[in-house]
Amino acid sequence: MAKQSFTLQVNGGTYQVFAEPNKCLHDAIRDDIGFTGTKEGCGTGDCGACTIWLDGAPVTSCLVLVGEAEGAQITTIEGLATDGVLHPLQQAFVEHHGMQCGYCIPGMLMSAAALLRDNPTANEDEIRHGIAGNLCRCTGYTKIVDAIKSVAQA
C-alpha cells in the first residue's frame, strides 16, 4: 500500500497521476487530471455512466484500475469535440433534445460515437444494441435514438 506514479494518455495529452493503485480510472480522470465529464452511476459496471474509450473501445471506467489503463489511449467525453467543434452526435443530441438531467449523457455519447464510428449506417436495432449498456432514466431513450439515427442516416 503506497502511492505510485502512473502515466496516462488522455484525450491526446500525457498526465502523471500519483495515487494508490486501488484508484479507479474514472476517479483518476476526474479528480487527479480534472476531466470531470465522466460520471459514476453505480461503480460496478451496471449502468454505463462512466463509459470512456480505451484504445477506442468503450469500457466502464469504474471497473478499470488506474494502472490497468497505462499504455492505452484514453478518450473521454472531453475528447469527442475536436478544436472546439462539436462531434455530429453531440450536435444531434442538442437538436433532438436527447437529454434531460444529462448525467448519463457523457457515457451515452461515448457508446454512440463508437457505434457510429464502427457502423456508420447503423439501423435502429443496431443503435439500441449499441447503447444497451447505458442506462437513462429521464428520457426513455426515444429522443436519444432519434438523435443517433439522424447522424447515422446523414
Binding site: 494508490e20 486501488n22 476526474r30 479528480d31 476531466f35 470531470t36 465529464g37 465522466t38 460520471k39 459514476e40 452511476g41 453505480c42 461503480g43 460496478t44 451496471d46 449502468c47 455512466a49 473521454t76 467525453i77 472531453e78 469527442l80 469535440a81 462539436l86 453531440q90 443530441f93 442538442v94 437538436e95 433532438h96 433534445h97 437529454m99 434531460q100 438531467c101 444529462g102 448525467y103 448519463c104 449523457i105 457523457p106 455519447l109 435502429e124 443503435i127 439500441r128 444494441h129 447503447i131 444497451a132 449498456g133 447505458n134 442506462l135 437513462c136 432514466r137 429521464c138 428520457t139 426513455g140 431513450y141 426515444t142 429522443k143 436519444i144 435514438v145
Partner: protein, 768 residues
Amino acid sequence: MTTTARPNYRFVNKKQPRLEGVAKVTGRTTFTADVKLPRLAHMKLLLAPHAHAIIKKLDTSKAAAYPGVAGVFTADDMPAHVQRDAAARVMTPFAHREVVFFGQPVAGVVAEDPSIAEEALDLIEVEYEPLPAVMDILDALKMDAPPVRSGMGGADNSELAAHSVVTEDEGPKEDKTPPNVTHRLVWARGDVEKGFAEADYIVEKKFHASWVHQGYIETMTATVDCDLDNNYHVWISTQGSFSSRDGLAKLLGVPEGKIVIEFLEMGGGFGGKIQPYAATYAAVAARILHRPVRLQFSRSQDIRAGNPAPQGYFEIKLAAKKDMTITALKAKAVYDSGAFPGSPLMAGGNLLGSYYKTPNQEIEGVEVITNRVNQGALRAPGTPQATFAIESAVDILCHEAGFDPWAFRMKNGVEAGDPMANGRNFGVIGLKQVLTAFKDTTFWKNKDVKPAVDANKKIGVGWAIGGWLGGGAPTSAAVFLNGDGSINVDIGSNDISGTLTSFAMIVAETLNTPMDRISLQQGNTASAPYAGMSAGSKTLRTVGLSVQKAAESVRDQMFKLVAQRLECSPEDLECMDGTVRVKGSPDKSVTFATLGAMSTGYGSPTPVIYGAGTSGSPAMAPGFALQAVKVAVDPDTGLVDILDACCVQDVGFAVNPLAVESQIQGGMVQSLALGYSEEIVWDEKGVLRNPSLLDYRLPTALDMPNIEVKIVEVPVEGAGPFGAKGMGEPPIAPGAAALANAVFNAIGARVDTIPVTAERIMRTLGKL
C-alpha cells in the same frame, strides 16, 4: 398536436433545444461531485445489517484512531435538540438505540481519502441484539403484530402536502389501533351496498404493487462545509435547494440564512431527492470538523438507505350495469411506509376513486409501517400503484361484461364538476379529450397489426388511463435589463427536465425578443428568488407564472420610460426584437440597449429596470394521460417483449413541446418498467436482497420501443403560463396497468402483482 383557437406564438409552443444542451453533451455541466474544494474530506457510512435490532454497543474509538481519519460520527453527534428516533428520518439521520431497517446508517467515518474511510469502517465495533422484524404488509396490520419500532416522534405530512393539494380528511378514530398502523382514512359517498345490488356485473380482486426505486443515475450526494462561525455552505444533488435549506436548518438548529445552498444540476431525482439525506450526514460531521465533508452514496447504499417508493396492497370491488354505468366502487388501499410514517396514502387513495364517476363509493385507506427503509416520493406518489389496481379492475370488468373498454371509459370517465374520492370537485380537466385523441394515434391505427415475432409468441394490446392532481407552491422570479439591452432571468427553482429553457421562452414571448438575448442565472439560496421544490408537477406552472409577471414588470417599466420619451401612452407601445416601439409606427422606437444604458449608467437618474414576480399557489390543474402498449409474450417462459407504445397526455399548454415529449417518453418508460422488471426484494428476515443495478432492473434501450407521444392541450386559465398544467407526473401513472392489461390480452394471464415478471406470468397460467 391538437390545436385550439389562440394567438400565434413566436417562441413558446415551439420546439426549443435546451439552452444548456452544449454543456451537457460536452461534460461541462457541474454536478455535486464535480465541485473541487480545498481540504475536502470524504464520508463513508456504516449501515446496519439487521432489519430490527437494539444497538447494545457502539465503539468507534479504533476507527477514530486510524491514520487519515478526521472523525467518526454517530447519533451522539447529532445536535442536542434533535429528537432521537423522530418520525421523520431526515430529522434523525443516524440510528440511535434502535435500528428499524436493514441498511439504516449507524455511523459515519470522515477521512482524507475514501479508501481510508472504508478501511476504517471495518474497525467500528458494533453489537446488535436482533429483534423480530415485521416485513409482511398484511401481518403489519394485525393487532398482535410485534411493533416495528418502540418509539417515535410526531408525523410530518408537509412534503406530501407540497406535492399535491389533497385535504386531510381523517377517518373515524378507533379506540384500538394496531401498533403498526400510522394513518387511516375513509372517504364515502352514496350507498355502496345498494350500488352492488343494482349491478349486473361485479369484479372483486386483490392487487399488489412492489417497492420500487427512483432509479436516478446520480446517487444521493452532498458536500457540506461549516466555518467557525457556523455558516454552512452546501452543494447537494437536490430537487429543492430552498426546501433542503429549510430541512437542514431544522436539523442543525440554525436560522435558514446561516445555510447557503448552491444551485447545481442534479442527475435525476424523481422524488427521491426532495429530502436532503446526503447533506444531513455530511452536516453532522461538518459542523464539528469545520471543513467540507462530501458524502456520495454508493449505488448499493442508495438502494438500501435512500427513500424508495412504497408497496401497496389493494382490494377492489367494482360494479356496473349492463349499460356500462358504474354503480359502485369499494376499495381498500394499504400502503407500507417502511419504518417511518408519511406514505402517499392520501394521494394514492384519492386517485384510486377519482378516475370515474361513481355515485356510490367507499375508499378505505390504511398506512402501516414495517421494518424497511423509509419510503419517499416517486413521481406521482402512490399513484402508479393505485392506478394499476383500478385500471386492472376496469379491464377485468370490461372483459367479463363484453364492454368496449374505450366506450366504458368515455361513459364513466370524470369531467369538470365531478367529485374526487375526497369529496372535492374537479375543475376543468382533459380526460375525455385524451380518450378521444387516442383514436388519432398511429398506435391505435396499427393496434391490430401483428408484427413479425417468433411463431410461438402471443401478441396483445393493453391500455389504461391515469392522472395526477399536481401540487402548488408560492414562487418568485426576477427579470432585469442589462446595460447592453440583453435580459437576465434569475430563478430559484431546480431544473430537472429543462424548465430553465422554458422560462427563457416565456420571457422571450413576453418581451418579444429572441432567445439569444436572454440569459438565465441561478446563484444560491442567498441570492436567488425563493421557489418551492421541483416536484409535484409544478415547477413550470408555478415558477413560470412568476417569470411571466417579472417579465411583464420589466416590459411595463420600459414602456413607462419610453412613453415619457416618445410622448405617447404606454398602451400605444409594443416590444419587437430588442426595441420598444409605437404600434403601427415602427420608426418611433427606443432600443432595449438604450434603456439598459440609461438605467445602469454612472450618475443616471433612471432606476434599474428590474422586475420581480411573485405568486401564490395557483388553482389546481390535474393532468390525465392514457398509455397503450403492444407486447409479445412467450407462453413457455413468460418473457415479455414490448413492441409498441404510445402516450396521450393533456398538458394544458406545451411551452416547449420538445421538453414535454421527452418528459412524457421518460415517464412512460419508467411506468412500463414498474410494470415489467423493477422491484426491491427483502427476504423474510428483512435483508434487502438486490441492492445493485444488476438485480434491480432498470430498463435498457433494448427493453423499450420508441414511445409515440400525442400532446393534448386543454388549457386552464391561471393554472400556469398560457394555461399550462403540471405534466411531469401523469405519465408514470398508467403504464404499469397498460402492460398488465396487454399481457392478459396476449395470453389470458391476469397477473395481480407488479412487476409482471415472467415467473409471475407462468404461475398465474398455472404452469408452476
